[in-house]
């Protein structure tokens, strides 16, 4: 029997205080809704802070641009797996949300006429794929930092109520499946509290930490996905993970695509600009999946650089040092600190590194969580933890920050409408999920022997890295499924020796691992099942023949995966090829 757990009541709960959570919070707070934002870290420490290159919007400040071109690029980038209604919504809203952000005080760089500075980026083209266009709105190479701080600052102005260093443990659903809130733990005291609200938004970010080598922060542990999966919500398209072409070799730290946008070139051990062979038109600014595969191919064929021939070089030594200092100062700092190289003088060693999760909690473009044909009442998701799906099988650079703004805002609006229409009084909290959550913590507190958390996490990360990387192989995927299910057993018996009630980070890491493993299973099982190559998911047995160009099999696989935690069941749902108002972007073989 659970002893009385305090209940705190709100109109809205937001879990996560990165870009999506803060944008949604602003919408709710400014509309006068009583809103609680829970975050494991102080808001400006959220991983949005690490985004560098820009946020896309067809402002056309330097040259003509149009949201329909942005939409075309996004559909093509997604390898046609993105839902075109959501993509239209995002690209059409982009100029509005970016201008709003500027009004909030975002310190964008400027053109000589005082408008927002825009730079070229991978896959951003004008006139339906014709030639590169300047669409990425940037604040030097610290766009995410500038954006996250601007959003936090605006929330300070709006008096948003933050619960800083609170970790949400589980979603609470009633007998009908409607969402009532979350169970959460205050990290400083280990106190467990029920947060109840009419509407709950997950904006918990990605789970890149399922891989050993990742650009992601330590906190990116897929907490929202773990909570959703445990509460019976399926996860969509989890086989699609973006490997960013330019992580610092050995360190994993991100080097923005904006470096190539400003003129950076990738070179192999022969000094060759090899992207000319793989993407004759877009070259170094082809889509990320294309560039990452080209790099791995170069390395596999013996043209890697360094003593172990295990990376390639990103060269900007030909750029004006002034441009590097003013447009890429953060990159120079990272390169000096993490690669020991001043990029003004020598090229940066880089290697494809796990970066972004295209899949997530299934939602529509309003941020409502959708399972089958049904909306899960009271439940919303936005940002990297959600799958609207705008990124499909491969995300375009700068569409992630845009996603946060557009869907953070639309979720906030949907929540406001829902809260206004909901009965004034909150019902009794259903205790089944609460008790399961309390039991998970109790198990860790009582377990006196078992698996070391670090060992289990390493086993998971190594399995994901080896079996579900840039190139995937049928036999390795099959073996990967077996191995990840073994790791799951390790996670069930993790043990921590530290039983302190004060800021117990060992316990937090154990709880985070229980979320990560759900994401890892979803990824491996979904990847093994998808017998084609599309976007970031590329496997050896999907043949590049006329019926399935690049291995993409639209006849059988133009559909979204849904993984259910219960019995690891997979089901599929159709891709929405019908935009809201624009003509559909017709299926086509993808080349850059």
């Amino acid at each position: 029997m659970t002893k009385a757990i305090p209940v705190r009541k709100f109109d809205a709960i937001i879990v996560g205080a990165g870009g999506a959570g803060l944008r949604a919070a602003l919408q709710l707070s400014e509309a006068g809704m009583k809103t609680a934002v829970l975050s494991k870290v102080f808001p400006t420490r959220s991983h949005t802070v690490a985004a560098q290159g820009g946020v896309s919007a067809s402002l056309g400040n330097s040259e003509p641009d149009h949201w329909t071109w942005h939409m075309y690029d996004t559909v093509k980038g997604s390898d046609w797996l993105g839902d075109q209604d959501a993509i239209e919504f995002m690209c059409r809203e982009a100029p509005n949300v970016v201008i709003e952000l500027e009004h909030y005080g975002m310190p964008f760089d400027r053109n000589s006429d005082g408008t927002i500075y825009q730079r070229p980026f991978g896959g951003h083209m004008s006139n339906f794929g014709e030639k590169p266009v300047r669409r990425a709105c940037a604040a030097a190479d610290r766009t995410g930092h500038a954006m996250l701080h601007a959003l936090y600052q605006r929330n300070v102005r709006a008096n948003t109520q933050f619960f800083v260093e609170w970790m949400a443990l589980d979603l609470i659903r009633d007998e009908k499946g409607n969402v009532q809130g979350v169970v959460a733990m205050e990290m400083e005291t280990s106190e467990i509290v029920i947060f109840q609200a009419k509407a709950t938004l997950f904006a918990t970010g990605g789970a890149g930490r399922i891989y050993s080598s990742s650009t992601n922060a330590f906190i990116n542990t897929g907490d929202g996905l773990g909570m959703a999966a445990r509460a019976g919500v399926p996860l969509e398209d989890m086989e699609f993970w973006q490997f960013h072409p330019t992580g610092v070799a050995g360190a994993g730290v991100l080097i923005t695509e904006g470096v190539r946008g400003e003129g950076g070139i990738l070179r192999n051990s022969d000094g060759e600009r090899f992207m000319e062979r793989y993407a004759p038109n877009a070259k170094d600014l082809a889509s990320r999946d294309v560039v990452s595969r080209a790099m791995v191919t170069e390395i596999n064929e013996g043209r890697g650089c360094g003593p172990n021939k295990d990376h390639v070089l990103l060269d900007i030594t030909h750029l004006d040092p002034e441009v590097i200092m003013s447009k890429l100062p953060g990159i120079r700092e990272i390169s000096i600190k993490f690669a020991g190289v001043d990029p003004i003088k020598a090229p940066i060693p880089v290697v494809p590194t796990c970066h972004y999760q295209m899949g997530g909690i299934p939602t529509n473009y309003k941020g409502e969580v959708v399972v089958g044909a049904e909306i899960v009442k009271g439940f919303y998701a936005a940002g990297e933890c959600a799958c609207a799906s705008v990124h499909g099988a491969n995300r375009l650079g700068t569409n992630s920050l845009l996603d946060l703004l557009v869907f953070g805002k639309s979720s906030g609006n949907s929540m406001i409408d829902f809260i206004k229409s909901a009965p004034k009084d909150l019902p009794e909290v259903a205790m089944a999920d609460v008790e399961r959550s309390v039991a998970r913590v109790a198990r860790l507190d009582n377990q006196t022997n078992g698996t070391n958390v670090n060992d289990a996490r390493l086993a998971m990360q190594r399995t994901m890295q080896a079996h579900a990387g840039v190139f995937r192989f049928n036999d390795m995927l099959k073996e990967g499924v077996k191995k990840i299910l073994e790791v799951e057993q390790m996670v069930k018996t993790t043990m921590i020796a530290d039983k302190s009630k004060t800021f117990n980070t060992a316990r937090l890491e154990a709880l985070e691992l229980e979320n990560l493993i759900e994401v890892a299973k979803a990824t491996m099982i979904s990847a093994e099942a998808r017998k084609e190559s599309r976007g970031a998911h590329v496997r050896d047995d999907a043949l590049d023949v006329p019926e399935t160009p690049n291995g993409r099999d639209d006849a059988n696989w133009l559909k979204h995966t849904l993984w259910h935690r219960e019995d690891n069941r997979l089901e599929y749902k159709p891709v929405n090829l019908q935009p809201l108002t624009a003509p559909s972007v017709a299926l086509k073989t993808r080349s850059y």
């Binding site: 102080f42 005080g105 310190p107 993490f338």
Partner: protein, 237 residues
């Protein structure tokens, strides 16, 4: 793989079991090719002793989580090279703030001061349909100001902040105050100056420049504070 043993003296305190803080001598093996930063070593240390508690997130110097006192000087563990540090490396929590546990401090007072300067653009003029235009020169005024990551290295190295954390805004908060004063889109300069015209809030800064010395982002709060003081003088004369 080459390994190296790194020696530490770490500040430890868990109010659940320790009557008072103590220094723990401990060493850890690191792989010198991939584990070159202090944070890498601390993460390794936590594998040896999982009870060691510290904050960390981005591990690339942009989130501001892992500020601590390293061999007597405040800095970020994630961008501090192990081989630049004298061993045993003495690691303590940021000075002047209450310790919650080990290297984790209570930052309430620090954020309270940051919030006190109204850290947002104040502009009551109706917003245009497009962006508010700003010249490149005016935008340049924000460089060296907006990049602050709120790690608190500066404020917790400042004696004036140690003595009066409730009254003196501190270097981080004042840097932010000037960031908004300097922004051509902000219309509240005089209100902001009024708010800082106080023997404590601004004028406890005695320009000893500890803040500049420790800032991991190489920002210069002392310079920003000087500019605020200049503006105050200007508006009197």
């Amino acid at each position: 793989m080459t390994t190296q043993s790194v020696k530490f003296r770490v500040y430890r305190y868990d109010p659940d079991k320790d009557a008072k803080p103590y220094m723990q001598d401990i060493s850890v093996e690191v792989d010198t090719t991939t584990e070159r930063k202090l944070l890498d070593a601390l993460v390794k240390l936590k594998v040896v002793d999982e009870s060691l508690s510290f904050r960390r997130s981005c591990r690339e110097g942009v989130c501001g989580s892992d500020a601590m006192n390293i061999n007597g000087k405040n800095g970020l563990a994630c961008i501090t090279d192990i081989d630049t540090l004298k061993q045993p490396i003495e690691v303590r929590p940021l000075p002047g703030l209450p310790v919650i546990r080990d290297l984790i401090v209570d930052m309430t007072q620090f954020f309270k001061q940051y919030h006190s300067i109204k850290p947002y653009v104040i502009n009551d003029s109706p917003a245009p349909d497009r962006e508010r235009l700003q010249s490149q020169e005016d935008r340049k005024e924000l460089d060296g100001l907006y990049e602050c990551i709120l790690c608190a290295c500066c404020s917790t190295s400042c004696p004036s902040f140690w003595w009066n954390p409730d009254k003196f805004v501190g270097p981080a908060g004042l840097l932010a105050a000037y960031r908004f004063i300097a922004d051509t889109r902000d219309e509240a300069t005089s209100q902001r100056l009024d708010d800082l015209e106080d023997p404590y809030r601004l004028f406890r800064c005695h320009s000893i420049m500890n803040c500049v010395d420790v800032c991991p982002k190489e920002l210069n709060p002392t310079k920003a504070i000087g500019k605020i003081k200049d503006l105050m003088v200007k508006r009197i004369s």
